[in-house]
Structure formats: structure tokens, C-alpha cells
């Protein structure tokens, strides 16, 4: 997960033309600058139309349908699984499990692999920069089973303190689960290295890719990661859909997650046998139209090229950091641009983040204020909340200029 500087440039005007919502006005006469893709991205027409087409001409429940429409729907669903597998270079489509979101993907691993393989006193190693989605599921397991949690520290600068890792790994964790990109600091963590060190210590490794997969090229085989969790809605796809990648042998050995239809092979009154992976983990009717939409999103991102997306996001982030520095009283959290991409979280002296976001909104700039589901990380920096601007392939430097101008208005009101 690195940024390749030689990626071909991306044609942002052409991309913007594909996103209807970006052409709306925030309010009459005010241009919308959508700088909240870290929370959820906008969707290109190709995605909206793929779902529309599905409902207009392909809709039926999948699997077990003998009639043509049911076959068409099943094919569309499974074709999308294959596209997602290719997108992250999984060796088989079966290693892709569809969930509701990245949060559910992490919970799936905690509740199945975790429950089956962890016992009292076992250690799960996380980091101090995790989103609550990769923290609370493990806390719940700690409460239930008495597992221990330790954390790779975050330095003052906002990167992972890898110097602390050897001693933590000596405590023989069973799993190291960490984010590849911080949703607050933008920090890109050295994922391949952490996975390698985890494996050397005989631990499994899981990546929370909710932020990294949309923004950086991802190759699960090169990373050799055991599990990867991410969400469709942050990568141009629809809401209500997430992905869990897992190595096939691990998935095969794991107990099922939820019980019900599709996840079974045979059911007796008092017993059942499980279906094969991935159906074993997809109980009940899945989000079929959304999966089809995610397939279109992945096609879109691959056509642009993830190297180009990563290079462009990085360029926008560098520009934003440079311009934010001009604003007096503003403090950006997280490392310098060499370790960072896709977002900038900041505080503004004398103005609460919520007020900042409100005033930015009045100038058409959509940002997010709060703890961004990372309360422990904010506590670490001694602040309750920040305002976050986040960037994606359809954003422009003009939108960042609009952000900066609006920040001067904040200064006028609260200065």
C-alpha cells in the first residue's frame, strides 16, 4: 500500500462529470465542496445505473432459482464478487465475503475466529489509532472471554511507534489487527511490514482497510494479510454493504457467523451442517443490488487506476496541508505529507469544531466535526474533537481554496 509517483495523471473534470451530486448547489448560489468522503464517498452514475438496471431488469432472489431471472441475478451477484476479488488481488472469489459494512466484517472475525480460537489470557494487539469498529468488537470479546488487549502506541507526530512493536510481539499475540490508514490523522501505516512481523511472531494479521482500500492500491497476496475488512460506501459503492477478505484455509476452519438460510447444507430439527465458504458466512438474502453496485464501483476505480487515485489524493492532501498552514490559530493533527494522505483533521483556536463545521457549511463546504469514531486517539492528543476535511478522486484544489476562504470567515466570527 504505497503511493506510486509515476502514476498517470487523472482527469478530474472528466471524473466530476460522472458524479451528479457534485453539481448541486449547497444553497442557492453557493457551490458545494464535498470534503467528507472519509465518512462516505459520492457515487458515479455507473454505480447508480448498475443498481437501477438491476432493479429494472435483473431483480430476483439469488441461488437456488431455476428460472432465468434468478440465474441472471445470481450471475450478476457472483460476477461482482469476482471483480472485488480482482480489485484487491485475492487469489479466489470465494475469499470475498459480503457483509453489511467494515464494522460487521471486523465483528465477524471477532465472533467466529475469535470465539473459536481465543481463550482467557490470550492477547490481541491493536493500535492506539483504531476506529471504534476495530476496537469495540475486541473489547466485547475481552469482556466475554477474558482476552487481553494491547496497543501499538501512536507517537506525538501521529505515526505508529514501531520501536515498541518487538516487545509487544514478544508477548505472543494471537492476532494483530490494525488500520492501514487512519481516518483521523490520514497516517498510512507500514502494513506489509506489520503483517510480516506479526507472522514472524506466529500471530495472524488483520487490516482495517475501510480508509486504505478506497485510496491506495491493495494487494492482499503481496501483503500476505490474513483478513481485510472494508466498506463499499467509502469507495464509490452503495451503503449497506461491506467486505471481508479472508484466506480460504482460515475461512474454511472458522465456525459460521449468523445462522439461517443459505449458510447451511442440510438442516435437521436439532442440527445443521454448514455450507461452503463464502455462503457459510452469508446467511439470509444479501444486499444483491448493492453488491452489483459495488461491482460497478470497482470497475470504475480500476478504469481510473488505483495508482492514479492514490497519487491524486496525495497531491490534494499535500496542497490542503500547505494551505491550512497559512491559517493562523489552526492546528492540523497527524504526520507530514510523507506519511499521510486523503484527509486533514484540525482544531481552530477559540472555535469549537462543531461551530467550525457549521460555518464551513454555510459556505458550501461539507466537513465533519467530532471524534470521528476514534475517541481514544483524540484523548491521546488531549482534544475532544476535531474538524476533518477529507479528499477523494473527484475533489479539486479550488474546493480546498473554498475551504480556506471559509476558514477565514470562522476567524472573523470567533477571532
Amino acid at each position: 500500500m504505497t503511493i506510486s509517483p509515476q502514476a498517470g495523471p487523472l482527469d478530474v473534470d472528466k471524473i466530476r462529470a460522472d458524479f451528479p451530486i457534485l453539481h448541486m448547489e449547497a444553497s442557492p448560489g453557493v457551490k458545494l465542496a464535498y470534503l467528507d468522503s472519509g465518512a462516505s464517498s459520492q457515487k458515479p452514475l455507473a454505480v447508480i445505473e448498475a443498481m437501477n438496471t438491476y432493479y429494472r431488469s435483473q431483480n430476483a432472489n439469488i441461488h437456488r432459482a431455476v428460472y432465468t431471472l434468478g440465474e441472471v441475478a445470481t450471475e450478476a451477484y457472483e460476477a461482482a464478487r469476482a471483480k472485488v476479488a480482482k480489485f484487491i488481488n485475492a487469489s479466489k472469489p470465494r475469499e470475498i465475503i459480503f457483509t453489511r459494512n467494515a464494522t460487521e466484517s471486523v465483528n465477524l472475525v471477532a465472533q467466529t475466529w475469535g470465539r473459536a480460537n481465543l481463550k482467557e489470557g490470550d492477547l490481541v494487539l491493536l493500535t492506539e489509532m483504531e476506529h471504534h469498529a476495530n476496537l469495540v468488537p475486541w473489547q466485547m470479546l475481552a469482556a466475554e472471554k477474558g482476552i487481553r488487549l494491547e496497543f501499538i502506541p501512536v507517537t506525538e507526530e501521529g505515526i505508529l511507534d514501531l520501536a515498541a512493536l518487538p516487545a509487544l510481539l514478544e508477548q505472543k499475540p494471537k492476532l494483530v489487527s490494525f488500520t492501514a490508514m487512519s481516518n483521523v490523522l490520514g497516517t498510512i501505516t507500514p502494513a506489509a511490514e506489520i503483517v510480516r512481523l506479526a507472522h514472524e511472531a506466529s500471530a495472524l494479521a488483520m487490516i482495517d482497510g475501510a480508509q486504505s482500500v478506497p485510496h491506495l492500491p491493495t494487494d492482499v497476496q503481496a501483503l500476505d494479510v490474513d483478513f481485510l475488512a472494508f466498506s463499499s460506501h467509502k469507495m464509490l459503492g452503495p451503503t449497506g454493504l461491506g467486505v471481508l477478505y479472508g484466506k480460504l484455509d482460515l475461512l474454511n476452519a472458522m465456525p459460521p457467523f449468523m445462522g439461517g438460510g443459505d449458510m447451511i447444507k442440510r438442516v435437521e430439527l436439532r442440527s445443521f451442517t454448514t455450507n461452503e465458504v463464502p455462503q457459510k458466512f452469508e446467511a439470509g438474502t444479501p444486499a444483491i443490488a448493492e453488491v452489483v453496485g459495488l461491482g460497478a464501483a470497482v470497475d470504475y476505480l480500476m478504469a481510473v487506476g488505483m495508482d492514479a487515485v492514490a497519487a491524486y489524493d496525495h497531491e490534494l492532501t499535500a496542497y490542503a496541508l500547505e494551505r491550512l498552514e497559512e491559517v493562523q490559530g489552526l492546528k492540523v493533527f497527524g504526520p507530514g505529507i510523507e506519511h499521510k494522505s486523503s484527509n486533514a483533521s484540525f482544531t481552530f483556536e477559540g472555535a469549537h469544531p462543531h461551530d467550525v463545521a457549521e460555518i464551513l457549511n454555510r459556505h458550501g463546504v461539507a466537513t465533519r466535526a467530532g471524534h470521528h469514531c476514534a475517541m481514544p486517539l483524540h484523548n491521546k492528543f488531549g482534544i475532544p474533537s476535531t474538524t476533518r476535511a477529507s479528499f477523494y478522486l473527484y475533489n479539486t484544489k479550488e474546493e480546498i481554496d473554498q475551504l480556506i476562504e471559509a476558514l477565514y470567515k470562522v476567524k472573523e466570527i470567533f477571532g
Partner: protein
């Protein structure tokens, strides 16, 4: 430039009149607005006739949450507890003198929720969503 940040709100946010804690106190209650991390605590002293003789607020949060706490605490000083129980959303909006969208409304009503929690005891407290819809 805009109504939301009326002078009174910025003034109360930057120079609150009733910020502090009371020790001892007869009532103290605190709560958070998880959406934005606003936090408000209100302490009250009450005389033998159930009249509020002194009130203070503390906490942190956005200008709307903190200014409304300051204004509300000012308003209830000298009021009888039974009259405080009658206060509602409209009273807070009147103090602020603005109309608020659904998100900021919760910032504004946090102090009312805290006040009611302290004066009513836990069972009667509405959630912020219920207060906002009231």
C-alpha cells in the same frame, strides 16, 4: 453574517457569566451529546421553599451548547423548582433567539436535558431526540 452566530451567543460562549461548580450543592447532574461530544454539568442550590438561589454550569462543547447553558442557568436562578419543570424547548430557543436545524437543536437542548435530569431524577428524563421533537 448570519443569525446563528448572533452576538449574544458568541458573547456568552466567550464570556460566560455562570460558568463554575457549586460545592456543596443540592442538585448536580451532567450529560453528554454523543453526536458532537458536548458535555454540560449543572449544579443548583435551593432554599427551604424550593427556590433556586444559585446555579452554575460547567463543561465543554460548541458555542450553542455552552451559550444555551449559560443563558438557561441565568434564567432559572430565582425560579421555583416546579416552574423549572415546566420549561421546554421553546423557552431555550427563545433565550437563544434563533431557529436551529435538527443537529444543532440537540446542542442547544443539552443543558435543558441536564437540568431536567437533575430536577426530576433520572426516570423522567427525555432523550435529546425526544426533547428536540417535543
Amino acid at each position: 453574517m448570519d443569525d446563528l452566530y448572533r452576538e449574544v451567543i458568541i458573547d456568552r460562549y466567550q464570556n460566560p457569566r455562570f460558568r463554575g461548580e457549586l460545592d456543596p450543592h443540592d442538585y448536580s447532574y451532567q450529560d453528554d451529546n454523543p453526536v458532537c461530544g458536548d458535555h454540560v454539568r449543572i449544579d443548583l442550590r435551593v432554599d427551604e421553599n424550593d427556590t433556586i438561589t444559585e446555579a452554575k454550569f460547567s463543561g465543554e462543547g460548541c458555542s450553542i451548547s455552552q451559550a444555551s447553558a449559560d443563558l438557561l442557568v441565568e434564567k432559572i436562578t430565582g425560579m421555583k423548582l416546579e416552574d423549572v419543570r415546566q420549561l421546554g424547548k421553546a423557552d431555550v430557543l427563545e433565550l437563544l433567539g434563533i431557529d436551529l436545524g435538527p443537529v444543532r437543536l440537540k446542542c442547544a437542548l443539552l443543558s435543558l436535558k441536564v437540568l431536567k435530569g437533575g430536577v426530576y431524577g433520572l426516570d423522567d428524563v427525555m432523550t435529546l431526540d425526544e426533547l428536540a421533537a417535543s
